[in-house]
């Protein structure tokens, strides 16, 4: 079946640099996309979302970009901090169901 996937299972960045986490989705009918952050031993935490009628949305230090032409979603984190170390999931909303990707681990080097 169709699913959400991730290009890089682990991303290592230097503290202070910008991070980019990528996600590919396969269903063009998906109308809503979300990024979640999960720290070790905790439940996923909502970061930012974007609807399919947008191509960019900004939050505090985070930006989500949506490219519907190539079915690609990315999460950009500015000035990455140690507290950003976590697993990041993208999810797509398809027919009122959220489908999660398998996650990318972000490691922040001091």
């Amino acid at each position: 079946g169709e699913s959400v996937g991730l290009h890089l299972p682990t991303l290592s960045v230097q503290e202070g640099d910008n991070s980019i986490i990528n996600c590919a989705y396969s269903n063009s009918a998906s109308d809503y996309f979300i990024w979640y952050k999960q720290e070790s031993g905790k439940g996923p935490q909502f970061i930012i979302d974007i609807r399919s009628n947008m191509d960019k949305r900004q939050g505090q230090r985070v930006t989500v970009l949506l490219n519907k032409t190539v079915k690609h979603l990315s999460l950009q984190i500015a000035a990455t901090q140690p507290g950003d170390s976590a697993v990041y999931f993208c999810a797509e909303n398809l027919l009122d169901k959220l489908i999660f990707g398998s996650g990318t681990r972000l490691l922040v080097r001091p």
């Binding site: 979300i34 031993g41 909303n93 169901k97």
Partner: protein, 115 residues
């Protein structure tokens, strides 16, 4: 944290025994969900509820049942646990009030090990 409490947080059981996980919320949200999380699979929806006594299946519902007799409680039951049900189970509520808002708040998870 949207007032979600899961219990038990950790449980070890044997194959064939029944197990019930409880999700309790304090904010009267209508939509509640049970997910399981396994390495390489991300989060997969087991069952969800859109009101008292209103539930429906998710993508991995086989071997699981749910009940919601009160707004605040959503129970997940494994009638006869199997080793393939060893997982971390997360309860979530939809803060936006509808299923497709995506802004889910998750509990802290319940780690179940079936020997």
């Amino acid at each position: 944290d949207a007032g979600i409490t899961q219990s038990p947080r950790h449980k070890v059981t044997e194959t064939g025994t029944p197990v019930t996980l409880r999700c309790h919320q304090t904010e009267n949200h209508r939509y509640m969900y049970w997910y399981r999380q396994d390495p390489g699979h991300g989060l997969r929806l087991i069952h969800y509820s859109y009101g008292v006594k209103d539930t429906d299946k998710g993508e991995v519902s086989d071997g699981y049942s749910v009940s919601r007799s009160k707004t605040e409680d959503f129970l997940l039951t494994l009638e006869s646990a199997t080793s393939s049900q060893t997982s971390v189970y997360f309860c979530a509520i939809s803060v936006g009030g509808a299923m497709n808002t995506g802004e889910l708040f998750f509990g802290e998870g319940s780690r179940l090990t079936v020997l």
